[in-house]
Structure formats: C-alpha cells, structure tokens
Amino acid sequence: MSFLLECPNCGRRPVDEYAYGGEVTVRPKSADDARALFSYLYFRKNDAGAQREWWFHSSGCREWFQAERDTRTNEVMQVAPPGGLT
C-alpha cells in the first residue's frame, strides 16, 4: 500500500503517515441483544468496494478523521472530520 491519503488538517500525505482505525461501526446501546453486541465486537464487513473507515494521522497532526475508500482500488472518495462524511 502506498496510496496518498488526505488528512483534513494537513493535506495529502503518503498512507504510511497514518494508522488505520478500522471500519466506522455503530456501537450498541445495551447488552440485551448479545448477537448484535458480539457482531459489533468481533465481525467486520470487509466490503469489497466503498467503505467508511477511521484514520489517525499518527505522524502528523495526531487527529482522527474518517474516509470513504474503495477497498479494491484504494481510491479515496472523501475525507472528513469525525462524523462529517456525506
């Protein structure tokens, strides 16, 4: 992987400046539904295609942001501060 990724604060940088934070998921609001809880904890969708994910600019501003990326081509469609993807 050597694609370029744009940090909303710093601009386009090589991907090795960042730490990957995983898919954007929704945290369950209780333990009532064990299946929902465990799939949130242990299962990833791992979509082949557009995926919303977290990134941490570890060798830069050390801020988190979100990106939408095509996992097949590493094309980054959009980046945004947390919660800002359209």
Binding site: S2, L4, P14, R27, Y40, F56, S58, R62, E63
Partner: protein, 905 residues
C-alpha cells in the same frame, strides 16, 4: 592495447587505467569500462555458472537484462558486471561455481548422471521420497541453492540513505523517446526527472554508430539545458500505488512521487532458442555492438550472425568495420543478399534457421539449416538477434495491461492507468521468430536465469500447466533475476507451439514482471538502519552508576544497579529511588473532562475530590484490559492520567479516538516525554523529602492517594502519594529539563538514610509482594477485570455508559471461568514464569509472575487458575518447565502489608 581505434561514442578514457581483481587476480581496465567490458578485454569468457545445471555462461546482453554476468563485488552478491563501472581496488568474484569456474562439481554431476537431469518438477518429484532422507537432501539443496554468498560476519560498512522526492514528471528510460519526452515536459515548465540505468544516455543511439552517438549527445545536452534532472546510472525498481517509484542510485534509494510517470522503457533484444544457445560466445547482437562501439573491443575472430531482422545485419556491419571476420549472416527471412552485406562481402544465408551451437566450454561451430540443407560453420562468436520486445513490466506494475498482437508480433498496451504515459511504441511489424529449433542435439534454453529448456516448458504443458502463468509456477520460467526480460516472449512462443495455437491466444497469456526490476541489495531497502531509543533525563546518571540498561519497550531502563536484593531491602528498610519517567502521561482538560473519564474507565471519576489520585484500568469494548495507571484530579476540569510505559501512545490514540466519536468538550495532550517522574519510596521517604520542600507532607495534610503541587529543590512538581512498591512513597513529577537536578537533589537528601537507586527488577519483586498486576505480563488480550481479580474496580451501577460495559455485564452473568490469583510456593522452589498449573497432569492454568521474596522468605507469584480453584488457601500444583512439580496454595490478599499499614503510615 587490446582496443580498437578511438571513436565518437566510446565510453572509455584511454588515458586512465583502473586496477581491480577478478577471483584474486589483478586485472587492468580503462576508466569508463564496466566490470564486464574490462574482463572481456582481458580475455575472460566465462563469467558465471548457471543456476541449476551449473553450465558455464558468458556475456549475453551487456545491458543488465540477463543473469549471465552476475558477480559478487566487494562482498555484495548479484551485481551485474555489465552495468557496474570498474573502480580502483574492487574485488570481483564469480558466483555459483565450486570449486572453480572452470571445473564445477555440480556441473560434472549433472552431465554425468542423466537421472540427475533436474527436469522440471524434478525437485518436487524426487525429494519427496523417502521422507526420512529429507534432512540430507535439505543440506545438499541449501548449499546448492542461491546465487552468491553472504558473509554472516558482515557489518554495515557503508551508509545507505533514503531520500523522498516529489516531481511533476518522472521519465523512466533515457533512450530517444525518454529524452524527448523529458525535454518536452521540462520546456513546459514542469519539474522533470529522468532515470536511466545504462552507462550512457540515448538507449540504442548510444551503441549503434557514430551518427547515432552524436544524436544521443545532442539530446542529452538539450535535456540538461531544459533543466531535466538526470539520474544515471540509476534504475527504477518498480511502479507502486500513488505513482511511487523507488529509484536506486549508488547507496541511495530515492522515493519518487511523480505527478506523471512517463514509461520510456524501450525495447529489449531477445535471444533465439536452439541447442547450445547458452554457450559462452553466443551473444545478443546489441551486446556485441555495445562491446564494439562503446568499449572498442573486437569481440572475436570469426563471427556468425543469426538473425530474424535487420538488427543482425547492422551488427554484422559493425563487426566487419571492427576487423572481425563475419563468415555469414544467417537470416530466417527469404530474399536477396542485403546490399550492406554485399558491400562488405559477407555471405547472407537467407531462409536459414539456427539448429545447434557446438563447443566445449565455448562455442566453436554452429549448424544452420534450410529445409533439408544443413550447413556447419566454424566460429568463435555467434551473434543472435531474435527480434525485440517492448519492456512492459513497469506498465503492468502500474496497473496497466498489455496483449500480444499476433499480426504485428509485438506486445501492445491495452490499458494505461491515469497518471502514467507510455512514450515510444514498437513501430511496424516485428519479424517472425521461430519458437525453437528442430533437429539439434542438446538443451535449448528458453530461460537462462532458471535453466528452463523447451523440453521443460513442453512437459509442463503436457502435465496440464498449459499457460504462461501456470507454466511459470511449475517450471519457474520468467521467475529469475531478470523477471522474464530474456524469456517471456520465447516461453510464450514455445507454449503456443506446443498447444498448436497462435501466441496471442488468451490461454497463452502474459505474466507480470515483479519488482524489483533489477537485483537490489537489502541494505538499500533497509536504509540507514538506526534503532531509535528513548532515554529519560537521568539516563546517563544510571549508566554511570552501574545501571544495567536494558530495553523496556522503546526505552532503555536500568534493570538493576548490580545488587537487586540490596535495592529491594533499601526500599523496605529505609529509602529507595526509582526513575519512572517512562510512564505515559496524559492531560485531560475541559468542561467535559470528568464526564469523558467516566466513559472511558469502568470506575468513577465524576465524584472524585480535588487533589486526589485513583487507580484505574482501561478496558476495550470487549471488556479486555488494555492498560492501567492512575488518575489525579488537579482541578474541576483537569486530570493528570498516567499509563503504562509501553501504553502511552496507544492510550493517547484510544482516548482521542473516543473523544472523536463522542465529540465531548475536552482535550487530550500527551506529555510523556516532557515530564520526568521519580518514585521516592521507603519508611524514610517523608523525612527525606521534607528537607527539600515547604509542602506539608504530614499524613493528615497529605494522606495516601493525595495529589498536590509542590516546589521540590526549587522545581515545580506534582506529588502523587501512591504505592506501587508497597512502602510509604511519593511519585514526583517535574519538567524533564529539571529531571537530573531533582534526581540528584533527592539522592543527596536521602544520603543520611542510605538511599539506594533501584531498578526494574527490584521493583518487580516489590510490586509482586503487594500482588500488583502488570498489564501485559499478568494479563493478556483475553483478560477481563472480573476474572483478573479486580471486580471492585468495575462499577456496573454507574449511570452512564462506559467502554466495555456491555461485555463485562455479559461476563458477569456468565460467571468466571478462570481467576488471576496469588500463590505461595510450598517447598521453597520458585516456578518459572510460564510454568503450568496442573490438575491430574493436565494443564489448566499458568504462572505469570514469580519470584523469591527475601523479605517474606518464600516463593510467591501470580497465576491464572480455574475459577473453582480460586478460593483462599486452595492447594494447587505447578509444573515447572524443568520437570519439577511444585506444590503451592492460593492467596488472595497481598503477601506483604495486606492491611496497608505501611503504605498509609
């Protein structure tokens, strides 16, 4: 001198000789010579032994495309002799031959025993049986495999660099089209760099005659004038995502990011396939012309040229001009004698095909045929020109694709990705090339790197590996150091012929040349090779006082100062001082700071009083313990959080991530390296510290788990009264810049109490006596607080949601399966950390920490045991790796000072 008359385009400097050694013998070359040209001029014909059969091999392409001239230079293996300029004092050695290049044992074996024929698949088929023999086979195969020898004693003796570069345009290839593209780009005002791997710019122009050389010089001058940055000799290792191109030049790797990549990688001349086509003395036409025109060497006495197109004719003319007798040009095309050959009086055998080259160790004759008519020609130089193919490896690596155009007999690009441009295209239609020869005796080599013959490829097709990609996996054709530059086309032709289809049939296919483009040393990939280390502000003090500095995560920390038992005793009996600057330190500040901590920790912080400290663990959402440390409340809106030494970066990421998710009104700042911290511990800690500060340290004013700002020895500090090591103690945090001053002041203040600095090992013993866990040692990724003996820290009745809550609730309902407990050894023996807890001989748990406590006079430890063995006093059995069985009993309270009287005193 063994060189031809001086001429334009030559690369050598006749006024300057350079001396180096070849297999220990001194050789003299001229400045500008490559290792290969200097050796060839000196009479060397055999440069290496082939990979599998150890056949002698000589120069073939003279342009870095083939594996034949790989040598070892000053210890570096896989150096291409033809691309490496000679340097004074260089030590050049041959590779892959034993005991010598002339007499090679493996070659003798391979020729003498046909059973050792090493046909394709022979490795898989032969070394499977009998199974027990593998250990002998392996020894032999390991010593036979690989090219060159690495010296295991070798130390880094040069400095390798990585340089990051950004350009608008990167042109790969400095031939005519590459230079033209670079000039055009630079003239448009674009920042342009050009990479050329050869010893001269101009590609074909550089070695095809005086006029061509003049044109090459002109283009090079124009490029420089236009401002093109030229890297040469240097090569592009591959094309990666985001237009990243590593370019290797000398001891530097340039990581180029280019707005646009122009691929001007040009054409490579291909060998012809016939028996004996690998004999020394059989060379590519372009290789011969390089030796003649660039290094001015007459390459033989009596040459025969085998060709499919006009390139062979041009080579014959160059040879004739150089005074070499060309007995014939054997041309696969029908027709009249070419005018150029007629002028020089060279016989043009048209419609003839090569059948077989013969010779012992070097070519001495070649057999050619036209239908039933056979001719044998004696020769000491066979020049072959099997047509050219475009180098498309870089294009495919960039995400493009190519196909074989059967009508024109060339590979043409199908798809060129955005940001990449291909400069120069194979013009017109290439000549028809015979896939292989009929009627000759001996091996016809398709792939020189891997010693793959036509027979091997045909066999792979018969066995069902009926495409280039499959045959590649089975025969390793195109898998050698050249990655198919010399064999991709020919293997495709051979497969197509065996299948009886056109070479453009989908099923023949193309393979991808993998990076790196050329053999690359690991040193270049590794770069400068430094090992960063974090040092505390008192590092040198420790080292100077005999501290055994060992790695602890990214840090170097004193393990002990030579007498760990005395250090432990000092803490118990009087006073000790330890450098804990490596602790992670975060400041959480803002109106929502307390609410934030309520959500990331399982215990409470909202109710915390000012100037108090609380122990806390951090859990993942799966309930696992991620880290632990203390949290001090400095004000309504500010908390000072410590983490484990290795957890600082991870906790910062974790905290900031959840803050990004929740968007709370608080900030997290990592101040780990800005702040030094020391733990002054022992019954005399208060008295010693009192001498350095006006702060009221009395127990009522500053009790256990208090926090306060104080000036100590003139330095503004944060005091935390906590007790990881179990005695009265103060953790003193101060600006790192003042760390050494404060440390020395504390040591001086403790002098009257025989203070001792103590290291990690005594600290481990002391904390174990208190049964304090170390996250990551006593816990692992599956440990959750209920089972890890810390149910008290989990506040399931908190009103708010917190990370890990739902999983821990689930665990609570399920009940514990295992428990982390203390144990006392029953017979004085100390089980090793990692020893097993056994029931009826079955492992059911393990020891995570263990030591002999001198203070307590017994072996103590911490272990995971099944939940039903976790009650106080339960006898358990430990099985040590040494084989010993150690009886022990479960203990749930701290071994030392369980009522915390000393801690709170």
């Amino acid at each position: 001198m063994n060189r031809l008359a001086e001429r334009r385009g030559e690369l050598i400097d006749r006024g300057r000789t350079v001396t180096f050694t070849w297999r220990g013998k001194t050789v003299e070359g001229l400045a500008g010579d490559s290792v290969a040209s200097a050796l060839y001029a000196d009479g060397v014909r055999v440069f290496s032994r082939s990979f599998k059969y150890h056949r002698p091999r000589g120069l073939l392409c003279c342009s870095g495309q083939c594996p034949n001239c790989l040598v070892q230079v000053d210890g570096d293996p896989a150096v291409r002799a033809c691309m490496t300029p000679i340097e004074e004092g260089m030590r050049v050695e041959h590779i892959n031959a034993w005991p010598s290049l002339e007499r090679d044992a493996l070659h003798a074996l391979a020729s003498a025993t046909p059973a050792f024929g090493m046909q394709v698949g022979f490795y898989y088929k032969t070394f499977m049986r009998p199974r027990w023999a593998w250990k002998y086979y392996e020894k032999f195969l390991r010593s036979a495999a690989g090219l060159g020898k690495l010296d295991p004693q070798h130390r880094r003796d040069r400095r390798y660099e990585k340089v990051h570069r950004h350009v608008d345009v990167l042109v790969i290839g400095g031939g005519e089209s590459g230079l033209e593209a670079a000039i055009a780009a630079a003239r448009e005002g674009r920042d342009t760099a050009l990479v050329e791997e050869g010893l001269a710019l101009g590609g074909r122009l550089a070695f095809t005659g005086v006029d061509a050389a003049a044109r090459a010089a002109e283009l090079a001058a124009a490029a420089r004038e236009a401002g093109v940055e030229i890297l040469q000799p240097a090569w592009a290792g591959g094309v990666y995502e985001g237009n990243l191109v590593p370019v290797y030049q000398g001891d530097t790797m340039f990581r180029f990011r280019a707005g646009e990549i122009v691929l001007a990688t040009g054409l490579i001349e291909q060998p012809l396939v016939f028996a004996g086509n690998d004999l020394p003395g059989v060379m590519l036409a372009s290789g011969v012309r390089r030796l003649v025109n660039q290094f001015r060497i007459a390459t033989g006495d009596e040459a025969v040229v085998l060709t499919v197109d006009d390139l062979g004719i041009e080579a014959a003319c160059d040879l004739a001009e150089a005074g070499v007798t060309v007995s014939a040009v054997v041309d696969t095309r029908e027709g009249e004698t070419d005018e150029r050959l007629g002028v020089c009086g060279i016989e043009h055998l048209r419609g003839f095909r090569p059948v077989e080259a013969r010779g012992r160790g070097h070519v001495s004759s070649v057999v050619v045929a036209r239908g039933g008519e056979r001719r044998s020609l004696s020769t000491d130089l066979v020049v072959m020109s099997g047509g050219t193919v475009a180098q498309f490896g870089a294009l495919v690596q960039a995400g493009g694709s190519v196909h074989y155009d059967a009508a024109r007999r060339v590979y043409v690009p199908d798809h060129v990705p955005a940001g990449v441009r291909v400069a120069g295209e194979p013009a017109g239609t290439a000549a028809e090339v015979p896939a292989c020869a009929d009627g000759g005796r001996g091996k016809q080599f398709v792939c020189y790197c891997e010693d793959v013959t036509t027979k091997d490829v045909n066999l792979s097709v018969k066995e069902g590996f009926a495409s280039l990609e499959l045959s590649k996996r089975y025969t390793t054709v195109t898998m050698g150091p050249c990655q198919g530059k010399m064999c991709h086309r020919n293997s495709g032709l051979v497969i197509a012929r065996e299948l009886g289809v056109d070479p453009d049939e989908q099923r023949v296919g193309v393979t991808t040349a993998r990076p790196p483009h050329n053999p690359t040393s690991f040193s270049l990939l590794a770069g400068r090779g430094y090992e960063p280390v974090k040092r505390t502000s008192v590092h040198h003090w420790h080292a100077d006082r005999g501290g055994k500095m060992l790695w602890a995560g990214d840090w170097k920390r004193p393990y002990d100062y030579g007498a760990p038992d005395d250090e432990t005793a000092a803490v118990h009996e009087s006073l000790g001082l330890i450098d804990v600057s490596t602790l992670g330190k975060l400041i959480v500040r803002g109106p929502d700071a307390a609410a934030f901590l309520e959500r990331v920790y399982p215990n409470r912080y909202g109710d915390m009083k000012l100037a108090r400290v609380r122990y806390g663990i951090v859990c993942g959402d799966d309930g696992s313990i991620l880290d632990d440390g203390t949290v001090a409340r400095l004000s309504e809106t500010e908390f000072y959080v410590t983490t484990t030494s290795s957890g600082a970066g991870g906790m910062e990421q974790w905290f900031t991530w959840w803050n990004a998710v929740w968007g709370m009104d608080c900030q997290i700042v990592n101040v780990t390296s800005a702040i030094a911290a020391f733990n002054l511990a022992g019954p005399n800690a208060r008295t010693a510290l009192a001498g350095l500060t006006d702060f009221d340290l009395e127990n009522e004013a500053f009790p256990y788990l208090g926090a306060g700002h104080a000036e100590v020895a003139g330095v503004p500090c944060l005091l935390l009264r906590i007790g990881f090591v179990g005695e009265l103690g103060y953790e003193i945090h101060c600006p790192a810049a003042a760390g050494e001053h404060l440390w020395e002041a504390l040591m001086a203040a403790g002098e009257g109490f025989s203070v001792k600095p103590f290291g990690l090992e005594p600290q481990r013993v002391l904390r174990l006596e208190k049964m304090h866990v170390i996250v990551g040692q006593d816990t692992n990724a599956e440990s959750q607080p209920l089972e890890a003996g810390m149910p008290w820290i989990v506040k399931l009745d908190k009103e708010n949601d917190w990370i890990g809550r739902y999983s821990i609730e689930w665990y609570q309902n399920r009940g514990n399966r295992t428990s982390l407990v203390g144990f006392e050894g029953g017979n004085g023996a100390v089980p090793k950390e990692g020893a097993q807890v056994v029931v009826n001989g079955e492992p059911v748990g393990r020891v995570t920490s263990s030591r002999f406590s001198r203070r307590l006079g017994k072996a103590i430890g911490i272990a995971w045991v099944p939940a039903d063995l976790s009650a106080e006093g339960t006898p358990i059995t430990l099985s040590d790796p040494s084989g010993a069985t150690i009886p022990a009993s479960v203990t749930l309270r701290a071994f030392y000072d369980p009522d915390q009287e000393r801690l709170r005193s």
